[in-house]
């Protein structure tokens, strides 16, 4: 149904639907790579004094697992769905700058390949954890050229994301079809707008930090090897990016959950305007909380207290978002399909991940949590739970739109059950491992961590295969040659009204009256266009 498969078309494409699918396929590839790294780590930690991986290999795998999962899997998977869906939701023909979009994709792909390639270099890749803390990341303590390449790959990824954010913000601001006013903008598009706005602010400081790091490593500057710059300078630049990045990953997930809830509860989002306001509040506040990652660095306590307050402040609108989603179900007509189940699971994990995060917002409590498996549990609940579940829900939900195929519902529900149970068996024990340091490659039996770690590994061996089967379900449905109807969910959002699936171009004179869900604002007055429309950036 994609016509005759032609490699040239896929290599040269600038069409948002094709680029979106390329993004999704690539992100799934990196998900499998990073997921297998995770399985290796769990295998190594299953029993005390294990020698399955040596400490250096383990350190590299920890680093790659973190970097790949956060940056090369979760962020682009959301961007891939956005690529396909956002132009349809706003009635645009394509993104504002199609060739820039293709460039984003290819730089993303090559940056990921460079990063994964570092393990094959003599001397190996970065062995620093995904935070690449200075001065462990300097040439003195990581002399291998793989660490330089990893930093450069990360910088290339930052460039790719910046290009995407330029593209998406411009598209959403300038290419909304007649009638898609701001009040009617679909929630998923709102979430992508916020995501991209955050990315615009978060990634440049990371790129600057990486520039300093690479000049340190290649040209011999001394920003991170001297004590005047050093650890704290890196942490400032890194976490100014690092904390908004968490929200960059979570926002598309919230948008997907909102869309799925609205479709399968057959109900408008609870208090959409308040929801959007809370969204904007989280976006703004998330740029001012990063120093809660630095509670134990010994910086001035009053400064930390300020960031403790902002962190607590951000939890209020965020909690509002979750409540808004839950209240959307109230008095709806709920149909428990697989995407719905994944979204409900995501609400569970985001609540648990959120409240554990609030506990960490108190510096005093954080003294015990910092650097321990509690933290690992917390952010896996937010990322591996909420974001991955919601993105899978998004894939399932938009699969008929993207491929004209419907996955097997029963199979999907079974794999959901296994992945949810496996997930909790995998990550819940981490909340009891408050004294186990992160990123240790092995531990002794006398520590008493063995049984919880073994449970966790059992969970990993349920969770990992369940996610693979979840993806297999989609691939199997794609191979089966029976087309489903173009709007099997009877969804009311813009992207479903065109009745065009797959790669078929959408109609241009979008009729928004069919999209019941977005009709909440007042009708706008038509205006004549005066904007010269010259195609690409230059």
């Amino acid at each position: 149904m994609y016509g005759e498969f032609s490699i040239k078309e896929w290599l040269t494409t600038t069409n948002h639907k094709r680029v979106g699918i390329l993004y999704i396929v690539t992100a799934v590839f990196f998900l499998i790579v990073a997921g297998s790294f995770g399985m290796l780590m769990r295998t190594q930690l299953a029993t005390p004094n294990e020698n399955f991986l040596n400490p250096f290999t383990y350190g590299q795998i920890v680093t790659l697992h973190g970097l790949l999962m956060i940056l090369w899997v979760l962020t682009p998977l959301g961007a891939g769905l956005a690529n396909y869906i956002v132009p349809l939701q706003i009635g645009a023909k394509d993104l504002a700058f199609p060739r820039l979009n293709a460039t984003s994709y290819w730089t993303y792909l090559f940056s990921g390949l460079l990063l994964v390639g570092t393990v094959f270099l003599p001397g190996g890749g970065a062995n620093t954890g995904w935070t690449l803390y200075a001065p462990l990341n300097t040439i003195q303590f990581s002399p291998q050229s793989g660490a330089t390449l990893a930093a450069l790959a990360l910088a290339l990824f930052a460039v790719s994301v910046t290009m995407s954010s330029i593209n998406f913000i411009t598209t959403i601001v300038k290419h909304r079809a007649k009638g898609i006013t701001w009040t009617r903008l679909p929630v998923f598009t709102w979430s992508i707008l916020m995501t991209m706005a955050l990315a615009l602010f978060a990634f440049p400081p990371l790129a600057s930090g990486l520039l300093l790091l690479t000049t340190d490593r290649i040209l011999g500057t001394v920003f991170f090897s001297s004590t005047q710059g050093g650890s704290i300078l890196w942490e400032e630049l890194f976490w100014f990016f690092g904390h908004p990045e968490v929200y960059i990953v979570v926002f598309p997930a919230l948008g997907i959950i909102a869309e799925v809830f609205m479709t399968f509860a057959k109900k408008q989002l609870f208090a959409k305007k308040i929801f959007i306001i809370e969204f904007a509040a989280v976006t703004f506040l998330s740029l001012g909380v990063w120093m809660h990652h630095m509670f134990t660095t010994g910086v001035d306590y009053n400064t930390l207290q300020v960031f403790s307050f902002t962190t607590l402040a951000i939890s209020v609108p965020f909690e509002g978002l979750v409540l808004g989603l839950v209240l959307t179900l109230y008095k709806g007509h709920i149909k428990l399909t697989a995407p719905m189940l994944y979204c409900l699971a995501a609400i569970f994990t985001v609540t648990l991940g959120g409240v554990t995060g609030v506990l960490q917002a108190f510096p005093v409590l954080d003294y015990a949590f910092n650097g321990s498996y509690w933290i690992v549990g917390h952010f896996h609940y937010v990322m591996a739970g909420t974001t991955l579940f919601a993105l899978i829900a998004g894939l399932y939900y938009w699969w008929p739109k993207m491929t004209k195929r419907k996955y097997n519902e029963t199979f999907a529900k079974i794999t959901f059950a296994f992945s949810f149970i496996g997930f909790n068996v995998l990550y819940f024990p981490y909340f009891f491992l408050v004294d186990m340091p992160r990123r240790i490659s092995t531990y002794t039996a006398s520590t008493g961590w063995a049984s919880l770690n073994f449970d966790s590994t059992v969970g990993a061996f349920v969770f990992g295969p369940a996610i693979l089967l979840t993806l297999l379900n989609l691939i199997l449905s794609y191979r089966k040659n029976d087309a489903c109807e173009s709007n099997p969910w009877e969804a009311k959002e813009m992207e479903w009204t065109g009745n065009y699936s797959g790669l078929t171009p959408e109609p241009q004179n979008v009729d928004i009256t069919n999209a019941e869900r977005i009709v909440t604002g007042s009708q706008s007055v038509p205006e004549k266009s005066e904007i010269p429309n010259n195609g690409d950036l230059i």
Binding site: T14, L100, W106, F110, A177, G179, L233, T504, S529, N533
Partner: protein
């Protein structure tokens, strides 16, 4: 099914793939094997050449007008908006680098006196050169708005020459003098921060020169008219931004 493919055929291009591959080769060269840098630069140049050719022939120009919602940026073209978003990210890049510079400078306690390390006269000359290039750039836009293509060509030519002069003074006179006096990039934080910040700025000037070169090429093909000159305006915005960055780097390194 076949018609899907045809409608998008006119937009498809190998350029994005080739640029990304070229950058990847360049980065491999930086990290592992220096000669690959040259290969990367060759690939990128080839791709850019194709991009400029397409741009000059307006292969991808879109003419169809679709009615769209405009609030809140009614009078701003999407190209200009995209460029301003890009400039915002550039502000954040240079801003965080300046933050890093101030950080290491303040936490160092002692710092060499600026006027003893750097040549203020050369720095001031360079500042005035950049300011003048900004003037010629805006006069170019002014000319083409009135339909004066010859004026545009003269202005672009002067901008290009002034940009080259800036780089010539910086890389040809200042840096060799600094390096021969022992102020090398690996000689400590003052030199590290000076060379990284002004070096990145010089890279931006060089990119600007390539872009101005493209404008000159396109202007010589008669690619701009009084109603069609988005590229002149956008590249001008970028050029002035590079100018603004220097307005801060000059006092930070040469005066304070």
């Amino acid at each position: 099914m076949k018609e899907d493919v045809q409608t998008e055929e006119n937009k498809s291009s190998f350029v994005p793939l080739i640029i990304a591959a070229g950058v990847a080769v360049l980065l491999l060269g930086l990290a592992i094997y220096i000669p690959l840098i040259v290969a990367g630069l060759v690939i990128i140049t080839a791709a850019l050449f194709k991009l400029f050719k397409d741009g000059a022939s307006e292969k991808y120009a879109e003419r169809k007008q679709i009615e769209e919602e405009k609030y809140p940026l009614e009078s701003v073209s999407k190209e200009k908006l995209g460029l301003w978003i890009f400039l915002a990210s550039e502000i954040l890049i240079f801003g965080s680098l300046i933050t890093a510079y101030l950080y290491v400078r303040i936490s160092s306690g002692s710092w060499p006196v600026a006027t003893q390390t750097h040549n203020v006269i050369l720095g001031m000359t360079n500042t005035i050169i950049l300011l003048t290039s900004s003037l010629t750039m805006i006069l170019g836009l002014y000319s083409i708005r009135l339909g004066n293509v010859k004026g545009l060509k003269i202005c672009l030519g002067s901008t290009f020459a002034l940009g080259l002069a800036f780089l010539g003074i910086k890389l040809g006179i200042e840096w060799p003098a600094l390096i021969s006096s022992g102020f090398t990039i690996n000689s400590g934080l003052p030199a590290s921060s000076y060379f990284v910040l002004t070096g990145l700025h010089a890279v931006h000037v060089a990119v600007g020169l390539v872009a101005v070169g493209y404008l000159m090429f396109r202007a010589s093909m008669g690619g701009f008219t009084s109603s069609k000159h988005v590229a002149v305006e956008n590249i001008g915005l970028y050029w002035h931004f590079v100018d603004i960055v220097w307005m801060f780097l000059f006092p930070l390194f040469y005066l304070i």
